[in-house]
């Protein structure tokens, strides 16, 4: 795992709080993602991970706190957030089901192209050039995730794993500086999970920072430079994989409190149990 030499923050979330009426889903969470980093976000079901994601991407307006991308505070509008350079995928796949694979990726290019209605109707050389460039870029991305041969298929006809990949390609089409992945391996088998792992590394190597929510502990601890654990809307702990894996509060959050004076090695067993538990939990 490579570490960045001079950490320059891509994403800075400070004091993000989200309340729905009386319910506080996210409470005073700080999180920083540096350039070239893969940061994991874990937590039991209902911990507020996706809510936090939605706050970052402008889908929700945080009750308190602010989110800054490369030093500028983001406006709370999803399309402006994407325009600024943060792209995301969704926990439950939200592809444009009745568009082809290529068209899905082309929609992702929306913020990086400027052709309006007039140029579409007049079809000047500028329009043709931009359209050709967009298609080329989209095909390049499809090649990157390995779906180029299915460019003309309807996205709804893709198998599950490829739909997940396509969502990532679509997000990457907006040329983001930070990619938010919401449970990218949910419902995948071990081989597919491994492939996704490689894909995320490859994305990082393209200079895109990644923030990933995941329940698969093996996946997240392999992948992440840092991991943050969210429990009941609050950030419990943040640090390297080892730190988080060893943290008793994390184990407690997943498994409940261990009894007093338990032997040392039960902690390790607990982590394994937590992994097993989390993998089963993916089905939900």
């Amino acid at each position: 795992m490579t570490t960045t030499t001079a950490p320059s923050p891509v994403l800075e979330a400070t004091g993000v709080t989200m309340r729905f009426g009386g319910l506080t889903a996210v409470r005073n969470v700080d999180l920083t993602v540096n350039a070239g980093e893969i940061v994991g976000l874990i937590g039991p079901n209902g911990a507020g991970k996706t809510t936090f994601f939605n706050c970052l991407t402008g889908l929700y307006v945080p009750t308190e706190g602010k989110v800054a991308y490369k030093g500028t505070v983001l406006p709370p509008k999803p399309h402006l957030v994407t325009d600024a350079g943060i792209a995301r995928t969704f926990q439950n796949i939200r592809l444009f089901a009745n568009m082809t694979v290529l068209e899905n990726v082309l929609v992702g290019r929306h913020t990086r192209t400027k052709e309006g209605l007039w140029s579409a109707i007049l079809r000047g050389p500028g329009f043709r050039k931009a359209e050709a460039a967009s298609r080329e870029r989209a095909m390049e991305l499809l090649e990157f995730i390995g779906l180029a041969h299915k460019a003309d298929h309807l996205s709804r006809n893709l198998p599950y794993g490829e739909q997940r990949k396509l969502e990532i390609a679509r997000a990457m089409a907006s040329e983001p500086g930070l990619l938010l992945l919401d449970e990218p391996t949910a419902g995948m088998n071990p081989q597919e999970t491994r492939a996704t792992e490689d894909l995320v590394f490859a994305i990082r190597d393209r200079g895109i920072a990644v923030l990933v929510i995941e329940h698969d502990m093996r996946f997240i601890f392999n992948l992440s430079d840092r991991v943050a654990c969210l429990v009941q809307g609050e950030k419990l702990v943040e640090g390297t994989s080892e730190v988080v894996q060893g943290d008793e509060r994390v184990i407690a959050a997943y498994l409940g409190e261990p009894f007093e004076g338990a032997p040392e090695d039960t902690a390790a067993a607990a982590v394994e149990a937590a992994e097993a538990h989390a993998t089963e939990g993916d089905d939900q």
Binding site: R88, L106, H110, L117
Partner: protein, 590 residues
């Protein structure tokens, strides 16, 4: 899949040897053809005058066509050389459907004669021969080997249609030209049917439905779509050329007027298709934009009933005024309402449509300021005059005399062409993709950086201004504008429900769909005068049936077809590993 089972020789529904069955179809078809040259009834009271020997008329012509079609398809089963192209898979389905068309037309005619003229005595031998001959052909077709176990296999396109042999480019263009000409003849014949001869028109409908269906199951439509895809520009130009020839073929003012009105509603339906079909915004008050355009054009037309009676804009300026007025209204209505989703938007637009009509009714000088002359409307709109070409008078072109409505037909055709161009180009672009993305999943679309509100507003405004454009011409064609037709649902065509039905019936998101839908919905009540009072009922029944059997509309968008028939393996092609290129082409035409 639905082909023959090799272990046991498949039998038909009627137990006969296959050769006998084929022969029966051919004999029946010949008898049907022969019968059309005989007298069907003794009196000329029946519409079309079917009393002559040796010259088919009215329903007989239709039956003749059906008989010839049946005979041709029957001959393909005998493997006659030179007819292979007609039935590439030598399938049973087209034969059966063609025989059904002959049977339907013959029996419908015989029954109609007997009912209209009170009794079987009215039938001449020709009618009996037609009835018996077509029945023999149908029985023969039913005795042919079963294409499958269910009824559905008899009426669906088989899967094993071989790809077409490659024609040289000029040959392909020739085929496109011929097919377009055929379509023009079929359409012109339908329009040309005397409105008092509902019987003839019903026969025409029967023939067109079953005939088209049989050609479709033979796979000819797919092949044609494939050719079209290879020569897009040429095919589109041929289609418009054919449409432009319509006033020459059907040189009659009444029918030209029908043609203009069809073009107006088709154009407006196409504009609505941007809003409903592409962007997925259910707009129930769309006709109001047509009204805004029509009123704007009427106000600046120089009519003495206009509030600005001294003002007479040249047509291009009036056109822009109409478009601009509709655009402004579209933005005014859209800006506050497009934040709503789904049903809420539908209700608000429905309200707007009614508000427009009622406001126009009240702007008469007594209930409100005088602008629109209230329920009386603005009448005596002068005819257009573009570059000295007066649309109101007759013009002789190459021996044909084009009357007032023919002139307007050609003008309206130009505008339809513009709208088709705008639609196709906008749909296949960055903005068009964002419309479809919004329709598919608005949340995901905004997360991809699409400003949902802005993009929806553009769709709404574009749709509105295209309707306004059509409205400017329709104001001149109809001599006057008044608030009555601009309602949600009514018996006179340009109303919102009609336009929406045209889009949904024809096929959402396609170019041809709304044009076909509008044509059908306009022509049917016009030609079937007995239907007039039940028009809305018939609408409803047609829509319910359509939603049950073909929810994607008559002309399916490839995407929507895949969406609605996901379980049908015939459509679920990508998983069967066929090359994608053929999928795109064959599905586009269906």
């Amino acid at each position: 899949m639905a082909t023959t089972d090799t272990t046991t020789p498949p039998r038909g529904l009627v137990a006969l040897p296959a050769t006998a069955a084929r022969a029966l179809v051919a004999i029946g078809a010949v008898a049907t053809i022969a019968s059309t040259f005989m007298s069907w009834t003794y009196t000329s009271d029946f519409p079309g005058d079917l009393t002559y020997y040796g010259s088919p008329a009215g329903l007989q012509i239709l039956d003749l066509v059906a008989g010839v079609l049946t005979l041709l398809f029957a001959l393909t089963l005998f493997g006659v050389r030179g007819l292979g192209w007609l039935n590439p898979a030598t399938a049973i389905q087209p034969v059966l459907l063609a025989a059904t068309s002959a049977f339907a037309v013959s029996w419908f005619s015989a029954i109609a004669i007997a009912v209209d003229l009170k009794g079987l005595v009215a039938l001449d031998p020709g009618a009996y021969i037609a009835a018996v001959g077509s029945a023999i052909a149908l029985v023969g077709a039913l005795a042919l080997p079963k294409p499958g176990d269910t009824f559905k296999d008899y009426v669906t396109k088989p899967d094993n249609i071989p790809p077409a042999a490659k024609l040289p480019a000029w040959g392909q263009r020739l085929v496109i030209t011929a097919a377009t000409a055929l379509a023009l003849i079929v359409f012109a014949y339908g329009v040309g049917v005397d409105p008092d001869a509902s019987e003839t028109f019903l026969g025409y409908i029967l023939l067109v439905v079953f005939g088209t269906w049989s050609l479709f199951t033979a796979g000819l439509f797919d092949r044609f779509a494939q050719l079209n895809a290879g020569h897009k520009g040429f095919a589109t130009s041929m289609a418009f050329l054919a449409a432009a020839l319509f006033p020459f073929v059907e040189n009659n003012e009444h029918n030209s007027n029908l043609g203009v009105n069809i073009l107006v509603v088709a154009t407006v339906a196409l504009g609505l298709n941007i809003v409903v079909g592409l962007t997925g915004l259910l707009d129930l008050g769309y006709v109001a934009f047509l009204g805004v355009g029509a009123y704007a054009a009427a106000l600046v037309s120089g009519s003495e009933f206009s509030r600005f009676s001294g003002v007479q804009f040249p047509f291009w300026a009036a056109m822009l005024t109409g478009m601009l007025a509709s655009l402004v209204f579209g933005v005014l209505i859209g800006a506050p309402t497009l934040r709503l989703r789904g049903d809420y938007l539908a209700i608000v637009t429905l309200g707007f449509g009614e508000i427009f009509r009622i406001t126009v009714n009240n702007l008469d000088g007594t209930s409100g300021p005088n602008l629109t002359n209230g329920p009386n409307g603005i009448s005596m709109i002068p005819d257009l005059n573009i570059f000295g070409f007066n649309f109101g008078s007759n013009h002789d072109i190459g021996g044909f005399s084009l009357g007032r409505f023919a002139n307007y037909f050609l003008l309206m055709l130009l505008i339809t062409a513009i709208v088709v161009l705008v639609f196709t180009r906008a749909a296949d672009s960055r903005i068009g993709r964002s419309w479809i993305a919004i329709r598919e999943d608005e949340t995901a679309a905004t997360a991809m950086g699409i400003n949902g509100f802005r993009v929806k507003l553009i769709a709404f405004a574009l749709g509105a201004s295209l309707a306004g454009l059509a409205g400017t011409v329709s104001a001149h064609v109809g001599y006057s504008v008044n608030p009555a037709p601009y309602q949600f649902a009514g018996s006179v065509p340009p109303n919102s429900a009609f336009l929406l039905a045209a889009v949904v019936l024809g096929g959402m998101g396609t170019v041809n769909g709304p044009i076909l839908g509008a044509t059908l919905l306009y022509m049917l009540p016009e030609k079937l005068s007995f239907l007039k009072e039940y028009q809305l009922l018939a609408f409803g029944v047609a829509l319910v049936l359509l939603m049950r059997f073909r929810p994607e509309g008559i002309i399916a968008n490839r995407r929507r077809q895949l969406e609605f028939h996901e379980s049908d393996d015939t459509v679920h092609i990508p998983e069967q590993g066929l090359p994608d290129s053929t999928v795109g082409v064959t599905k586009a035409g269906a």
